[in-house]
């Protein structure tokens, strides 16, 4: 009994120490960037106040941070889920594109369906597109033919070219003056947004994805088996856990998450398929997942910080004439902080 209370006590104080450490590091990052701002002849306090006002300080600003977070959380999950058994999925970007491709196919070919039928269909297609694309790499890995790290990375380029093929060719909107983009989605295929903002139903997928990920990993037999596989595949195999089955399943589900991100972007944000669908969302998700070691709360925190800095960076450019390149310094500083946070949480990894 005494031992248990002492144990939970140390856990709690360790958590508190981690939070303090994290806050301190963020403060340090902001202080360093304040010097950059001073070098540009700007008042750092006013700059930070402007960022706050335009992002977290208003319902509109906050909603826009959420809009940016949706695809990042999903693409981070696409990496974090297979990473539980040490599969390295670099293919979030490609899976996102194929998810968007499948979703577009559904939206354009079943456009006459009512929204209550079309939206689930388009979402399912998005998941399926990303999932199947990742599954290909999963099969190559399970068969021992190719490392999933390499194959997922290379298939990103194939995926983007596939989307290009369709928007340059068969799906090109005849109304678009020959620019490579599909016809606009019918209204019934556009994910509804919430509270007059641009936060769309994709947020729900992200939240449900995060919760399921957390519950399955920590509360179920599957989670236990996956953790066993992640620690020692050979031992797990001898205990009757099939690694191949998990490789296929996790790659499929992970890819599906990125596919949902692509579906959300093409449906709610772009409203039509075009080659400039994603500014590297898949790669940013990869970054988020690995610097947070795939912890669900870490994913949310890192996606939040990255979205906040992107939105805030635009404000700095507008109100303080800071070039875009300077914003990258802040982004790098904060990512270092997220990375440094880990050694503060107690574990070696």
């Amino acid at each position: 009994m005494d031992n248990v209370t002492r144990a939970t006590g140390t856990v709690r104080s360790r958590r508190a120490a981690a939070v303090i450490r994290f806050g301190g590091l963020i403060g340090l990052a902001l202080a360093v960037f304040a010097l950059v701002l001073l070098a540009f002849g700007q008042n750092p306090l006013r700059a930070y106040a402007d960022i706050f006002r335009a992002t977290l300080g208003s319902p509109y600003g906050f909603s826009e941070v959420l809009v940016k977070m949706i695809p990042l959380v999903l693409t981070a999950l696409a990496v974090a889920i297979p990473a539980k058994i040490w599969l390295i999925n670099v293919g979030g970007e490609g899976q996102l594109f194929i998810g968007a491709l499948f979703a577009t196919w559904g939206a354009l070919h079943f456009g006459s369906l009512p929204a209550w039928l079309l939206l689930p269909l388009v979402s399912l297609l998005g998941f399926l597109g990303g999932g199947l694309w990742a599954l290909l790499s999963g099969i190559l890995r399970a068969k021992g033919w190719a490392s999933e790290t390499i194959s997922t990375l290379l298939m990103n380029y194939v995926a983007i070219l596939l989307v290009s093929f369709f928007v340059f060719g068969p799906w090109k909107d005849p109304e678009s003056a020959n620019y490579p983009q599909s016809a606009p989605f019918p209204d019934a295929a556009v994910l509804p947004s919430l509270f007059e903002s641009r936060v769309h139903l994709g947020a729900l997928f992200a939240i449900v994805g995060l919760l399921l990920f957390y519950v399955v990993m920590s509360r179920t037999r599957w989670g236990l088996e996956m953790r066993a596989l992640g620690i020692n595949q050979e031992a797990a195999r001898r205990n009757g856990i099939s690694a191949d089955r998990y490789i296929l399943l996790l790659m499929f589900i992970g890819g599906g998450m990125a596919g949902l991100a692509g579906m959300g972007e093409v449906s709610a944000i772009h409203g039509q398929l075009r080659p400039s669908l994603s500014p590297g969302l898949g790669y940013t998700g990869f970054l988020i997942s690995w610097i947070t070691m795939g912890s669900p709360s870490g994913i949310v925190a890192a996606a939040f910080l990255i979205s906040l800095i992107t939105a805030g960076g635009d404000i700095l450019q507008m109100t303080h004439r800071i070039p875009a390149a300077a914003i990258h310094i802040l982004m790098a500083l904060v990512l270092f902080v997220v990375l440094a946070r880990r050694s503060g949480t107690g574990g070696k990894k």
Partner: protein, 366 residues
């Protein structure tokens, strides 16, 4: 003592009346000289010596012309979720004129324009209008034809190469016009075209440029957002180059410089801002040509002969007077099929449908 008090009171009264006067004068002065905030959204870096810098310099010239105009700009904004947020934030900062300076910002701009009907939008190169959103661009094939003349007269190997972002019809038309201009002065001229698949990929552009030079070309042209990589590759190998987008490209290839096509938006942006300030702005589709002040032929480099310069200038006058047409038949495509009959003209308004490359261009239009 009493005197001092009275003195102070008097001073205070003067001060108060002065403040009151100021208070009434200042707002009316502000009304007379209304300030305008212009927001411009760039897709890339404003130091790309290309597409984005041309726009950025345009708004700087506007600012110089109109001291009452304030500019807020954001660079490196990707197409997608970010574009709309940046535009809305600019409006929240007080911008009344927005320039979403990329083709892909068209639909995001339309959505924001709908939400803020009192804010004006001018969008380059698009085809959609709204009551508060106009569009502007210039027709470029005639300018490319002129570049072809200069290149055709300057080349020693009779081979040129074009590094082009995408095989979309406007770019095919530009390359075709270049080849036709060159052929008009040099019947053995041929142009190899390579498509990048993207508007910005400097390493890939440099590789393509060098590959074209390896095949014997000595003139390089470029249709991507930043012409730097290609003109520098040409300069390094002692080849000639033709710029695009930005007037200042020449400094990256001073020796081999032939000329270039530049968008000089400054005066047009000044007109837009003035119109918004005095309430005469109206939504329209502007499509300029060689006679417009926003489509400029860059100065010629040392390699171009006086004879070539004279021919370019003569042809330019012919185009402006509409006595000459770029796509005048008979024209065959590079697979031998007749595309424009003798005596007929493929109109410049129709180049959105051009999906072929003209005879003498080596490359695939798809």
């Amino acid at each position: 003592m009493k005197n001092t008090a009275r003195l102070i009171l008097r001073e205070l009264a003067i001060l108060a009346s002065a403040l009151l006067a100021l208070g009434t004068v200042v707002p009316s002065a502000a009304q007379a000289q209304e300030k305008l905030k212009v927001g411009i959204v760039h897709i890339g870096s404003i130091h790309d010596a290309g597409y984005n810098q041309a726009h950025a310099e345009g708004v700087q010239i506007m600012k110089k012309n109109l001291p009452n105009v304030e500019v807020i700009q954001v660079e490196n904004v990707p197409e997608g979720a970010d574009a709309e947020r940046v535009m809305e934030n600019m409006i929240k900062q007080g911008a009344k004129l927005i320039i979403p300076a990329s083709f892909g910002f068209m639909d995001p701009a339309l959505r924001v324009a709908k939400k803020y009907p009192e804010v004006k939008f001018v969008h380059p190169g698009g085809y959609k209008l709204a009551p508060n959103m106009g569009t502007y661009w210039a027709s470029t094939p005639e300018a490319f034809y002129l570049m072809g003349i200069a290149a055709g007269k300057t080349t020693k190997t009779n081979k040129a190469g074009y590094v082009v972002a995408l095989p979309i019809s406007f770019f095919l038309a530009n390359v075709n016009a270049f080849q036709l201009g060159a052929r008009s002065v040099n019947p053995r001229f041929e142009t190899r075209v390579v498509f990048m698949g993207t508007f910005l990929d400097a390493p890939k552009e440099a590789i393509a440029a060098n590959a074209i030079l390896d095949m014997g070309a000595d003139v390089l042209g470029v249709i991507v957002d930043s012409p730097i990589a290609v003109v520098q590759a040409a300069e390094k190998r002692g080849a000639y180059s033709i710029g695009y987008h930005y007037l200042g490209v020449q400094k990256f290839a001073p020796k081999g410089w032939i000329s270039g096509i530049a968008f000089t938006w400054g005066e047009l942006y000044t007109r837009f801002a003035k119109q918004v300030m005095d309430g005469t702005w109206k939504s329209e589709a502007l499509f300029g040509n060689l006679s417009s002040d926003y489509l400029t032929i860059s100065p010629f480099g040392p390699a171009v002969s006086a004879d070539a310069v004279r021919m370019v200038n003569d042809t330019k006058r012919e185009f402006i007077a509409a006595r000459k047409h770029v796509f005048a038949g008979p024209l065959k495509d590079n697979k031998g099929a007749e595309r424009v009959k003798a005596g007929e003209v493929f109109p410049l308004q129709g180049i959105g449908k051009m999906d072929w490359l003209v005879e003498g261009v080596i490359g695939q239009p798809k």
